[in-house]
């Protein structure tokens, strides 16, 4: 069969796109029956390398003659750069190069022609880049750069940017449409309701704070550019460099063997990558460009702050209508993640109107952040539903069950699989939902009240093409599997080794997975919870191809037909005889089996989603406003679980990050200057180990055989989505007061209690 082109639906970060896909051959049928390698608790194949320091991250790359580079960043939230005088900086010993607006080559970056704009648009925007032999020389050089600015009026705060008298940052104003959905007649439906809840929700800007900061090391040998980058998408970085530097793809190689987290913020090429490459090409020396923690928190992305207004009405025990509008602080970003996504797709709601707006401000740009939009939107939606149910005296879980969607409300398609009801049942049992009372329960001290709350999760995670893999079978029976995907820290390398080993019939230990190299077959971005569902089937197909070739070869050597043979734990098995793969190859010298596989299209007219529910038990100190999260129960429906160990880690990590969003994390910006006041890890508060409660993780672990050949869906983002809403609902249950803003600090809880 020759390759053919088909159209397929792929969901990415809440957006569904029709994409062209090339398919070659026939997809494998979904796995049936019991599997022994896939589904087994498997420690990370690179765990020892990571904890012993042997694993090489971008920041560990040291090359002979390497220079260090940093940006000079704007101290102003908005200003025109009139002049950059680098003469004093260049006179400092050890300083090799300075590039800025007037001397840097054109380099396309996100729709603009240069990485240094004439108008800087947030405090921290890039003005110039310096390369020097040491960090000390660099810092001296940055202080010696003389820049003349014409300061312009700015606005950094979301709600200030909405006001009529705010400085206009774009020709069409500060607000632009970024999503809408209409179903039925909301105005009429609301008028018929017996209970209507009208509420305003606010979420704060959350910063990614990856353990490893954004960084790149660029090496130019006069012909080829090699870039080591801490990235979620080596191919994306390669494409970004191609566009910026106008080099052919064959002369750019991007590498990311290990990385220390991305959470959405490392989706493509950065200004620092381009600057490092330009500086390397200009100086003829390798250039290392590492952002420090402050720069991470000024200019490396964030989860937008949102303002959300919800009107939701109940009639005859059912949600009759919902109106949900959201404004997101995009900073200088060109898009926003849509917080109304869950409202549009989670429940069967006949009358619905949602609007989403992007608000531009003089603040650092948003970037994707683990379930962008859905974390913020679920907080509003699921808080509103629980409050409405309580007001009407309906059990909030029962109200949700009344609106369980039987098909995807957006497309009208049936689901490939959906087990949300079972998630509810398991979670409710684990948390003791039956004992929930309106108004909560006494706490462990007279000052405290206890409450429980819940929230639902919907997300994509179905993945799709393109994704490719190759499987090289060595003469000794070991395997090198390759894919241009990357391990963002979730255990991709381990999970792909399991899938390869399962299909091929070898032990996991025999498989080495090579990731993070654009000289490998294409792998998609490690984002959108799509890696396992996209790359997994490609890896399985490559292993199946290698196995078929191996069996054909073995059949010839053993003088039987291939049909009589199978591969089992590194052996060719035939009617009771077991021959190690190595022995087959011993007779063939350096014969190499190269299997290749690709991801096939998604099934037509089917909606592939992940679902889940989380339940929270909290205590609240009514005197101090302090929240004590005691227990989170997380139940997620993600199809087959390839590795229960790394999957549980994913859920725990997502919940901890969500607890930060819910309770402690908030970027604070000075309105007068637009400067971030807490761009360090002391003042910006991520959860500590003491902030982490007991977490119970459950999976339904039922293969979604219609989704793809592995039956597995994504898990990166789902666990982060419902936590904040579940905690807020538990706090509301404990105190009798709704919590409508994150993070729920003592100050906010006391304010809510005081307003009772």
């Amino acid at each position: 069969m020759s390759p053919r082109v088909v159209r397929t639906r792929v969901e990415f970060e809440g957006e569904i796109n029709d994409e062209l896909s090339i398919i070659d051959g026939r997809d494998l049928p979904a796995w049936r029956g019991a599997l022994d390698v896939v589904g087994a608790r498997t420690p990370r194949v690179d765990g020892v390398a990571r904890v012993t320091g042997r694993a090489r991250y971008t920041q560990d790359v040291v090359l002979p003659g390497m220079l260090h580079a940093r940006f000079l960043r704007s101290p102003y939230a908005r200003a025109r750069v009139l002049k950059v005088d680098a003469s004093r900086a260049l006179a400092i010993p050890g300083v090799h190069d300075v590039i800025h607006r007037t001397n840097a080559p054109k380099a396309a970056f996100r729709g603009e022609e240069t990485i240094f704009r004439d108008e800087v648009r947030f405090a921290g925007d890039e003005v110039a880049a310096v390369a020097a032999v040491s960090d000390e020389a660099l810092r001296d050089a940055l202080r010696a750069l003389v820049v003349e600015y014409e300061v312009l009026p700015h606005v950094a705060d979301l709600e200030e940017a909405l006001r009529d008298d705010a400085p206009r940052l774009e020709e069409k104003g500060n607000v632009s449409d970024s999503g809408k959905q209409d179903r039925g007649d909301v105005r009429k439906a609301l008028a018929q309701c017996e209970h209507v809840l009208e509420a305003t929700y606010r979420t704060s800007t959350q910063l990614h704070n990856c353990l490893e900061s954004h960084s790149a090391v660029a090496h130019w040998d006069g012909d080829r550019l090699t870039v080591w980058e801490s990235t979620q998408h080596v191919f994306g970085v390669r494409e970004g460099l191609r566009a910026a530097l106008r080099l052919p793809l064959s002369r750019i190689r991007v590498l990311c063997e290990h990385m220390g987290g991305g959470f959405g913020s490392k989706g493509g090429v950065g200004k620092y990558t381009i600057a490092a490459s330009i500086l390397a090409m200009r100086t003829g020396r390798p250039v290392r460009f590492v952002l420090d923690r402050e720069e991470e928190n000024l200019a490396a992305g964030n989860r937008s702050a949102t303002l959300q207004k919800v009107r939701i009405g109940l009639r005859r025990g059912r949600i009759h209508a919902i109106l949900h509008s959201s404004w997101s602080n995009a900073g200088q970003g060109r898009w926003v993640a849509d917080p109304t996504g869950p409202t549009n797709s989670l429940y069967d709601l006949p009358d619905l109107k949602t609007r989403s707006y992007r608000v531009v401000t003089n603040a650092g740009s948003l970037s994707a952040f683990r379930a962008p939009g859905y974390v913020e939107g679920t907080f509003a939606l699921e808080s509103a539903i629980e409050e409405l149910a309580d007001r009407a005296g309906i059990d909030p879980l029962q109200l949700r069950l009344r609106h369980l969607a039987k098909k995807d409300p957006l497309s009208g398609y049936a689901y490939s699989d959906k087990r949300l009801r079972e998630c509810y049942e398991i979670g409710a049992r684990e948390i003791g939902w039956k004992a929930r009372k309106r108004g909560g329960a006494p706490g462990s001290t007279p000052d405290r009240r206890r409450g429980i709350g819940m929230a639902s999760q919907i997300w994509g995670g179905g993945g799709g093409p393109p994704a490719y893999a190759t499987v090289h079978l060595n003469p000794d029976g070991t395997v090198v599997a390759r894919c241009g995907s990357q391990d963002i820290g979730t255990g991709t390398r381990t999970v792909l080794a399991q899938i390869c080993a399962q299909e091929l019939g070898v032990d996991v230990d025999a498989v080495r997975v090579e990731l993070g190299d654009t000289d490998s077959p294409y792998g998609p971005t490690s984002a959108g919870s799509l890696t396992v569902a996209s790359v997994g089937p490609a890896m399985r197909a490559a292993a199946a191809d290698a196995r078929a070739q191996l069996l054909g070869t073995a059949a010839g050597i053993l003088e039987v037909t291939a049909k009589e043979l199978r591969v089992e734990r590194g052996h060719i098995v035939s009617k009771g005889t077991r021959t190690p793969i190595k022995e087959i190859f011993d007779q063939l010298q350096n014969y190499t089996v190269i299997g290749k596989g690709s991801r096939f299209p998604n099934p037509e007219r089917i909606a592939i989603k992940t679902f889940g529910a989380q339940f929270a038990q909290v205590e609240v100190d009514l005197g101090t406003g302090e929240i004590f999260v005691e227990h989170i129960v997380a139940v997620h429906d993600i199809g087959r679980v390839v590795n229960p160990l790394t999957a549980a880690s994913q859920v725990q990590g997502g919940i901890v990050q969500a607890l930060g969003f819910a309770l402690t994390e908030e970027r604070v910006v000075d309105r007068g200057t637009g400067r971030v006041l807490n761009a360090d890890l002391e003042a910006y508060k991520v959860p500590t180990v003491r902030d982490v409660p007991r977490i119970t993780v459950r999976f339904l672990d039922t293969p979604d055989r219609r989704a793809n050949s592995t039956g597995a869906k994504g898990l990166g983002e789902p666990p982060m989505i419902p936590t904040a809403a579940a905690v807020a609902n538990a706090v509301a249950n404990a105190t009798g007061v709704p919590m409508r803003a994150t993070p729920m600090t003592p100050a906010r809880v006391l304010a809510a209690l005081g307003a009772r």
Binding site: R671, T673, R675, K685, D691, P746
Partner: protein, 319 residues
Amino acid sequence: MKPFALARPATLAEARRLAREATPLAGGTDLLGLMKAGVAAPPRLVDLTGVGALRGLRRERGRGLRIGALVRLAELEEAKDAPQVLREAASLAATPQLRATGTVGGNLLQRNRCWYFRDEAFPCWLKGGARCFARHGENRYHSILGVEACVAAAPSDLAPALIALDARAALVGPRASRTVAVADLYQAPREGVRDEHTLRPAEIVTEVRVPEASLARRGVYLKQMERKTWAFALVSVAAAARVHGGQVTDVRLVLGGAAPLPWRAREAERVAEGTALDERVAAAAGEAAVAGAQPLEHNAYKIVLARELVRRALLRLVT
């Protein structure tokens, strides 16, 4: 960070001489951060950690508890001879790593945490500038009591506890030595006095002493944070008193995080003094503690916290 000269004396006499022209450095957990941020740029540092005379924590018969300025917070936290209120305060400060490095002297003399003060880009009043950016800016962590020209809040956990114990600090200067009440190490920055501390030029804190009489007091330290650990106090309170025959005397109530200096809540002390502490008295003392509070735009919640922590701390003294 600007280059600097570092001297490492082994004796107090040498340190004293060097300190005339250099900034003392102990654990460095505060000073180095200020230097990296570009807020402090001392050309010379004198590292005190080699001076043995500044070490050691011991009970001295009749003379109370002597705590060397170089005693680490982690040592204080574990010291069985130290009063409970002080150990609690030490244990609630920072993180295990920081407590293993930070010293008693350094904790008492750390600069405030105001984010405008700590950002080189803001020429704030305390740094010699013309205005206080926090007064009408982002001031959720700032003071509700005792504000003059600067609204930053006193950050130390140890200071309220030591003041509640009437502790005294020994200082050596270039020519003279003196002892002062720990409370007198602090002042509200005001016109002509752009500093949170009262040390004279080149003075070094050598030790802190908890008087014998205070060791008989019961004490408690409560600290409200924004996360469960590793955070400065939104508000903290150190309470200490003699509890005898159902009556409390020598009541001390000292707030942290609420004023530009560790704040003696004297009205609240008077309300509680000599009473058999009960719910009613504790609540009244809580009210008295915040009677003069003047919140800024974003920190009124601290009034609620201070009132509540004072009430709870007093009740804990008698339960």
